[in-house]
């Protein structure tokens, strides 16, 4: 064997000592077997061959990238094999770390996904329990009040009857509140199914229903034709229903009520709006507008559970859109919303192009 200085340093041998030695004298048998086998492959190949070899070092095994090629005699036969090795231990270690890190990362993602699924399931079970178990006692409260009113009316004076009626009203109110809560939680849970939506037709049918409920009201309605976007039909209808019903409700005190539904372009993206000339809200409380159970008007002025706009916001956010509002108190309010962020729109286009 012939070696260079670096080899002397690495394996603590001198050039003089190594003459006449073989791999098996220097290295553990398994490593030496592998080196020899690689040498033979290189000798037969007639040209350079690359191997990864592991050899002991002072601080543990090192990995070498070794290029071996035969030294040929005048007869064309290999009489020796020359090897040039590069220590790639650090690179190997880094690769190993990246691999480990990836495994850990995947593990973490799996764990988080499982946690998320578990908490969604928990929320589901909770909502289900709310809708079943909290409603049943309310039914009993309301029902037995009714039986008292029917069967024991001769034992009750006017105040007693009034108390029972108030009990019933509140049981009904709480049931309504539970329903609203459930609807809110459902908007977060249900799977989004996007399809093309005719918002003009949707708004008109909602307004038609509202007008049918209160035929005595005169409301100037204006719905822009050809309002289209892509979204979940069910959820978007729920959002539109809440926005338009709000406009309807808060214009209740106007002699000439006006509700306008239209759109405008912002960053070449459609922004829809529902505008009314009703009570409006104090702009200082705009940030509270979309919080569940936040009411900016007294129950005596306008009834409601305070959950409508929270539902609208959830729907819009789930679509990746935005919602905001403007108002001058006493002069009306405008609610603006988009159904997808400009980024996700361009992503969608990109995907379409790829197809």
């Amino acid at each position: 064997m012939l070696i260079n200085e670096e080899y002397e340093r690495l394996f603590n041998v001198s050039r003089e000592d190594i003459i006449g030695m073989k791999d098996h004298d220097l290295f553990p048998a398994e490593m030496a077997d592998e080196f020899l086998a690689n040498d033979k492959v290189a000798a037969k190949s007639g040209g350079p061959v690359q191997f990864e070899e592991i050899a002991p070092g002072d601080d543990g095994p090192h990995t070498y990238l070794t290029i071996k090629f035969p030294l040929l005699g005048s007869d064309g036969e290999a009489y020796a094999v020359c090897g040039i090795s590069t220590d790639i231990t650090d690179r190997k270690r880094a690769e190993q770390e990246v691999r480990l890190f990836n495994v850990k990362l995947e593990q973490r993602v799996r764990e988080r996904t499982a946690e998320l699924e578990a908490s969604t399931k928990e929320l589901d079970a909770f909502a289900y329990s709310v809708s079943h178990d909290l409603r049943a006692p309310l039914r009993s409260l309301h029902g037995f009040s009714q039986l008292l009113l029917e069967d024991y009316s001769d034992l009750l004076d006017e105040t007693g009857v009034s108390h029972l009626r108030r009990l019933q009203v509140n049981a009904t109110l709480m049931a309504q509140l539970l329903d609203d809560l459930l609807r809110l939680s459902r908007t977060t849970r249900v799977e989004l199914r996007r399809q093309s939506i005719d918002l003009t037709a949707m708004a008109e049918s909602i307004l038609h229903d509202l007008a049918a409920e209160e035929p005595d009201r005169t409301v100037k309605l204006s719905v822009e034709p050809e309002l289209h976007d892509v979204g979940d039909l069910h959820l978007v209808r729920l959002a539109m229903q809440n926005l338009i019903a709000n406009a309807w409700k808060f214009t209740g005190g106007e002699s000439v009520a006006e509700i306008t539904i239209g759109s405008m372009l912002r960053d070449s993206q459609p922004v829809f709006f529902v505008r009314d000339n009703g009570a409006g809200f104090d702009p200082r409380f705009e940030n509270k507008l979309f919080e569940p159970f936040q009411r900016l008007h007294s129950a005596a002025d306008f009834e409601g559970s305070g959950i409508g706009l929270a539902i609208v916001q959830r729907v819009v956010l789930r679509h990746g859109g935005a919602i905001w509002a403007e108002s001058v108190p006493g002069e009306g309010a405008t609610f603006f919303f988009t159904l997808a962020s400009p980024v996700s729109l361009s992503e969608q286009r990109g995907e379409d192009d790829a197809k």
């Binding site: 809708s131 178990d133 409603r135 049943a136 309301h142 049981a171 009904t172 049931a175």
Partner: protein, 148 residues
């Protein structure tokens, strides 16, 4: 017309039993309401051992949330037996969860009523139930006899 018809109410909540009985009386449906407090009792009435006369109600009102054997279990069992598979079954539920509605119809329910909180609304629900299902059932019955 429906005076002699029996209705089987499978319901574990005693308050709901009271309300249902009252609702039937107030709507002047003369049907006799047989109450089973759980699925096992309902099975004994509808699918009794040989030698015992089985109950054949005009309709079954079946609460979806029952202890042990659930309402859906009861429904599946009724639909799988020749003797009971044609009896109209109306599911009663407290929630209006879509999954309950879907599961009920998938198991072969004929109708679905969400028990409203307000008693007046419950009266209306029972009224429409009675008008629709008891009348329809009157017409279905002769055919049933022929095929059976």
């Amino acid at each position: 017309m429906m005076l002699n018809d029996q209705i089987l109410l499978i319901e574990d909540n005693p308050d709901d039993v009271t309300f249902t009985q009252r609702a039937f009386r107030k709507n002047n449906f003369g049907n006799k309401i047989v109450v089973a407090n759980d699925g096992a009792m309902a099975m004994k009435l509808l699918l009794p051992p040989a030698g015992i006369v089985a109950l054949r109600p005009s309709i079954v009102l079946l609460d979806i949330n029952l202890p042990q054997m659930s309402g859906l279990d009861v429904l599946r069992r009724l639909r799988s037996e020749e003797a009971t598979k044609l009896i109209p079954v109306i599911m009663l539920t407290t929630s209006n969860d879509d999954r309950d509605v879907r599961a009920s119809y998938e198991c072969g329910a004929n109708g679905f009523v969400r028990k409203p909180v307000a008693f007046d609304d419950f009266l209306c629900a029972v009224k429409s139930l009675g008008l629709y299902w008891l009348e329809v059932n009157e017409q279905v019955r002769p055919q049933e006899r022929r095929s059976g």
